[in-house]
Subunit: 406 residues, 2 copies
């Protein structure tokens, strides 16, 4: 008897009909003889409604209270799913994050899981029950409720799978897997049957929304195979795992894009030590996540420093950076909120020259100007005009499609 962990996202449980459909899918897994643990997100739209309520009573809702408030969304969906399964004749029980033993630090709204004490989950499984766990939430040592921030339910699922020694963690969502590019942009994009953790991590970090990078990281750490599949179809999905064969690793795996990119350039920065720290430390303290950083070679000890943030954090970042720029004697700060990112990702690149040149050539042929370039061992990213992202993804998919392997 195998143990599997399934996770269903908010759109998969958005109303009573979809909850019933998800319940049938869970029942099928149980019928096949597996022990089943299910992690569930809040019903689609619920979290937004709760946030709206909070802002109706408070301009700056307390993080601690907001976490408790938001955690109710997943509790509602988990109980409804348990009721549905019981109505179908299955033994099922819902558990909150606290009851499932998801212990976190006290960093409200973006807590990290410290450990999973899954005694109660194990006890319920031993009674033959399907265990439905409210995702996205945990509890501190002081018994205060926390939420895990973005990608929280994916992370709950993988953490539980690791703790319980599950054979696989299945992430059910509204797309049917990981593709060679976003099928909405590239109709001929193909679904990947499998992908390695590192490649998936880069893909997820550089724009693919199908699974959160935190969950992929945790999967890699504990070597838990993660299946990403649709909750609406029976298609087979994409398996993220560590054993992807050498043969198919040596290629471009997929093309990622991200439309949520803004750029800040500090112009005319005196090139001396500690300047970068002076600029980035306050941003880190404010919780602003910096993505790409580029510093040009300096001319007469003066340089330009450019970095990217998400669009929603641009205004806050500018408010922090402008006085610093002034104090260190920089000329000015300029920003651009209408940018996008395209990336080619594949483990082949680290040993094979020429990928960058082919990528830049493909973009050049489309008349696309590259504003920033950033690379990792298995990824090349270009930051370009937002309006050109669609053309760029299509062109790159054409150029690399012969090697994109399903």
């Amino acid at each position: 008897m195998a143990l599997i962990v399934q996770k269903y996202g908010g759109s998969s449980v958005a109303d009573a009909e979809r909850i019933k459909s998800v319940a049938r899918r869970i029942a099928q897994a149980k019928d096949e003889g597996d022990q089943v643990v299910v992690v569930v997100s809040a019903m689609g739209g619920t979290t937004d409604e709760l946030v709206k309520l909070a802002y109706q009573v408070s301009e700056h809702p307390s993080d601690r209270e907001l976490d408790v408030l938001l955690s109710t969304g997943e509790i509602v969906s988990s109980t409804l799913l348990a009721m549905t399964l019981r109505d179908m004749g299955y033994k099922a029980i819902s558990l909150s994050g606290a009851q499932a033993g998801i212990r976190t630090d006290a960093a409200h709204s973006r807590a990290r899981i410290l450990k999973v004490e899954a005694k109660r989950v194990v006890k319920e499984l031993e009674k033959g029950r399907i265990v439905i766990v409210a995702g996205f939430q945990g509890i501190t040592d002081e018994m205060d409720v926390t939420t895990l921030g973005r990608g929280g339910s994916d992370t709950t699922a993988v953490a539980l799978a690791a703790s319980l020694g599950a054979g696989v963690c299945q992430i059910y969502t509204d797309v049917d897997g990981v593709h060679t590019a976003d099928p909405r942009l590239v109709p001929e994009a193909r679904k990947l049957a499998e992908i390695g953790y590192e490649e998936m991590l880069e893909l997820a970090s550089y724009g693919a929304k199908v699974i959160h990078p935190r969950a992929v990281e945790l999967g890699e750490l504990f070597n838990i195979p993660i299946l990403v599949a649709s909750s609406f179809t029976d298609s087979s999905g994409t398996l993220i795992h560590g054993g992807v064969s050498m043969e198919v690793r040596n290629r471009v795996r997929s093309i990622a894009h991200d439309l949520d990119v803004a750029k800040i350039t500090v112009v005319g920065v005196p090139d001396r030590p500690s300047i970068a720290a002076a600029i980035f430390q306050p941003l880190a303290t404010a919780g602003i996540s910096i993505d790409t950083i580029v510093q040009n070679a300096s001319v007469e000890h003066i340089t330009d420093l450019t970095f990217t943030v998400t669009r929603s954090q641009l205004a806050k970042a500018m408010r922090l950076v402008e006085p610093i720029a002034k104090s260190i004697g920089a000329r000015e700060c300029v920003s651009d909120a209408k940018l996008g990112k395209v990336s080619i990702i594949g483990t082949g690149m680290q040993n094979t020259p020429g990928y960058a040149a082919r990528m830049f050539g493909a973009l050049s042929e489309q008349g696309i100007n590259i504003q920033l370039i950033a690379t990792s061992e298995i990824r090349i990213t270009c930051i370009i005009d937002e309006a050109k992202v669609k053309d760029a993804v299509r062109a790159l998919h054409r150029v690399f499609e012969t090697e994109v392997v399903e």
Copy 2:
């Protein structure tokens, strides 16, 4: 520095504006130097919406899961209230029933409080915080969430007041206190400044909706004064306590009525031992609460047995009673769902003859037929046609008004 417990009902926190208004009221108590614990119900309408959701996925929602689902309603309102107070510059924290130490038995949907382990509440009070507790809910020894059933939040408030040694438990609701009769029926009804526990218990049990009998019972047991007042006005409310003076006790205190009455008569019952048990045991097992029971004197070993239930339980009760009636050789079962109850209540009646006669006379003058009569030491109840209840209450208020004392 005194400690007070306040409770706000669902209509008092139905939207953001009302939550802010309640927060101002709480802040005022805090400003006066008191330690304040607040128990809050779910925002008006929330519980109904959650129940509706449950029945969309399940014909017979599991009690255990329904309790977890419904408990989220009070968690939402408690966090919103804590956020509002923090926004106003007050230190405040929300606690779930579990965090507040409300320990109950495992009778889901109608759990009884076994004890209150209020360590966390005390700790937060010592930090100078206003503590907002989610009402209506508790937790079992197995750490499963329960709800307390009807009157649950009132009961939470009084139990916390008893456990913390509060000077008073203030129940804020949408009426401004306890009256000599329902002011919607009797415009000249007057508000009572005070009332004893026993009288309030009878009033609440026989139709006054202002506070649940469970909470009154608990207040009497631990001798906690309970103030019932409006959350919308500054009027002084009614104090329920044990020290009501002898002088004013010797009167009719108030007239209660209840429109939710249905009657079942088992006709032609053989008058022999164990018949009553045969009829009522299955009803008790099914959780049907029987109110008044009347058995006529038997003629030739045949009698009629009549009892009342709430209207919503009539169909279920009939389904249970009909086969039993048949098996014990009764002639038939008849029911009437269109009944009401009127009661006069006052500690004076136990030593003073003539109250019953005056009550029956007043009803008779209105041409009202009395179907059943039931009494306690401090109450006389008549069951009459539903359509006559309004006239009956008015007539009784007129007859006894000279002695109804504010």
